[in-house]
């Protein structure tokens, strides 16, 4: 066997001089051969293979990837919306709530931000659905089959809520207090003040932080692959596993994530510009 191996390396002898130590030779030679075959493979594949692999209809996997992306975006959007609602309520609770509310919220934000998201997802996904079903059973209802989408949104939204709470709390603190006071002085009810003054006034301070959270959410959806939810990362892994075209599919997935980020950046930039409409450009104050 070892003879055979040595022989196979022979033709390359003049370029890669042989050494006494066979193990070292193997180390040197094999990556070179692999690299050559990889480039060869890529070149030949790029001609037709990649397009075929990524085509929308089977046997291409493009449709499956896009479907996974759609799922990812659904979850990211849902989780961000849920997170924003929790975050807004949480920020107001932390700022204006009673001591009990404030303590509970402090525990929530501390624990969620301290535990790795993957652990939280596993915990909330399995323990959470189990808890709900036990509760339902105890109350005499039938077990519920909680969809992956709903569970994903709930779990990621719960995590996002903790981070949003802090972002929004900081943004509310950055509003000049006089503007809140003026709203009170003119008889605005708390709900009206929130809608008309506090939220629009805090937005320019919150958007950079919330934009970060949105981008993190789009990528955190990949963590749901561990609980078997078919989002982009899992779809990619399946496609790559079946076809063995790892590079092609993971590169395609990375591109899709990048496109999502670029489109998000563009839209967020417009929202931010709109939210800062009453503020003079920072450039003029330089």
């Amino acid at each position: 066997m070892s003879q055979g191996h040595g022989a196979s390396a022979m033709p390359l002898g003049p370029i890669f001089p042989r050494h006494a130590c066979r193990r070292r030779c193997r180390r040197r030679l094999e990556p070179a051969i692999r690299g050559a075959t990889l480039i060869d493979a890529l070149l030949s594949a790029s001609a037709a293979g990649i397009i075929e692999l990524l085509s929308y209809n089977p046997p291409g996997w493009g449709g499956k990837l896009l479907f996974g992306l759609l799922h990812s975006l659904e979850i990211a959007l849902g989780a961000t919306c849920l997170g924003l609602m929790i975050g807004t309520a949480g920020a107001f609770g932390k700022l204006y709530g009673g001591p009990v509310v404030r303590d509970l919220l402090a525990v929530y934000t501390t624990v969620v931000r301290a535990v790795p998201e993957l652990v939280l997802i596993l915990l909330l996904y399995y323990a959470g659905t189990d808890l709900i079903n036990q509760l339902l059973a105890a109350l005499g209802y039938q077990r519920l089959d909680i969809s992956g989408l709903a569970a994903g949104i709930a779990v990621l939204g719960f995590v996002q809520g903790a981070y949003s709470t802090e972002v929004i709390r900081g943004a509310i603190l950055a509003i000049p207090q006089g503007q809140i006071e003026a709203a009170r002085a003119y008889g605005m009810s708390p709900g009206l003040m929130l809608r008309r003054i506090t939220l629009p006034a805090m937005l320019p301070f919150a958007i950079p932080g919330l934009a970060n959270l949105w981008l993190i959410a789009t990528k955190d959806t990949a963590l749901l692959a561990v609980v078997g939810f078919e989002e982009l990362a899992l779809a990619t892994r399946q496609a790559a596993g079946v076809t063995k075209a790892y590079f092609t599919f993971f590169f395609a997935a990375a591109l899709l994530y990048l496109v999502v980020s670029l489109i998000s950046n563009f839209l967020i930039g417009r929202v931010e510009a709109r939210s800062r409409r009453g503020m003079p450009s920072i450039k003029e104050a330089r």
């Binding site: 503007q179 006071e181 008889g187 937005l203 009453g278």
Partner: protein, 271 residues
């Protein structure tokens, strides 16, 4: 009618308070250990311009801010339009308004103008002026816009209607804030040192607007450092010292023939 000329009406009789736009009686305010107001009484009848003067820390701003419960008084009676603001103690023993809707209704009749303007920075001037009429008082938007345009041209800002506050001078912002206060057709206007944050050359334009309002018979309570102006426009001047009314009366008496030694000294120092 035997209405007394004194501004402090000790009794709370209904026929007396009917003519009163604002009635404050024995008001106390403590910030923790700090006793800022130590039993102040004040009254503003329709058409009166009450000027509150006094040194720094005398409690004059606090008194004004207690009238619409921006600061909750520790004890005392406040009546606006004859309606007494219902107060209650919360779980910490702080006094707070007992009825949120009542205090909101009362606040929407009091046009407050702040030292730092406090215009809403995410709204243009016209949006600032129509905000309360449309969203608090339920005025139709197009009606409110017409009214707001009139008010803005009245304070000389007609062509700035679509400009955001940050792009305006302090004097322009304060005039816009006055238009915002006028837009609710207030029963009483409350001015909290409206020219203190302005550059000296901008003070005149704001005082002119306030003076015009006073001359047309608007009821006002005005906290100010501008003694000359107070003497011109006020019908009644209240001098606060250390949380108490030290002396009060018509401006000629307060500025012309002050009785209290402290007031004499205050006028000398300011003069």
């Amino acid at each position: 009618m035997s209405v007394t000329g004194a501004a402090t009406v000790p009794s709370g009789k209904a026929q007396n308070s009917a003519a009163e736009a604002i009635h404050v009686e024995n008001l106390h305010k403590k910030f923790g250990q700090l006793h800022v107001l130590k039993g102040v009484s004040l009254s503003a009848r329709d058409g009166e311009v009450i000027a509150i003067i006094g040194g720094s820390g005398s409690g004059k701003s606090t008194l004004l801010r207690c009238i619409n419960c921006l600061e909750n008084p520790t004890s005392g009676i406040i009546r606006v339009n004859g309606e007494e603001i219902k107060l209650k103690a919360d779980s910490h023993g702080h006094t707070i308004p007992a009825d949120r809707r009542q205090i909101e209704r009362i606040r929407s009749k009091l046009g407050m103008v702040f030292q730092n303007f406090n215009l809403w920075s995410h709204m243009t001037l016209i949006e600032n002026v129509i905000e309360v009429p449309v969203h608090v008082l339920g005025v139709k938007r197009d009606v409110a816009i017409k009214e707001a345009e009139k008010l803005l041209s009245r304070v000389g800002l007609a062509e700035k209607r679509d400009v955001y506050p940050a792009y305006l001078s302090g004097g322009q912002q304060q005039r816009a804030a006055i238009a915002r206060a006028l837009a609710i057709n207030p029963r009483v206007m409350l001015f909290d040192e409206p020219t203190s944050a302005l550059d000296p050359e901008l003070v005149g334009e704001v005082l002119k607007v306030i003076g015009d309002l006073a001359r047309e018979g608007r009821t006002m309570v005005l906290v100010t450092h501008e003694m000359k102006f107070a003497r011109e426009v006020a019908t009644h001047v209240v001098y606060l010292y250390n949380g108490l009314v030290e002396e009060e009366g018509p401006p000629e008496q307060i500025f012309g023939a002050p009785k209290s030694e402290r007031l004499k000294q205050f006028i000398r120092n300011i003069g």
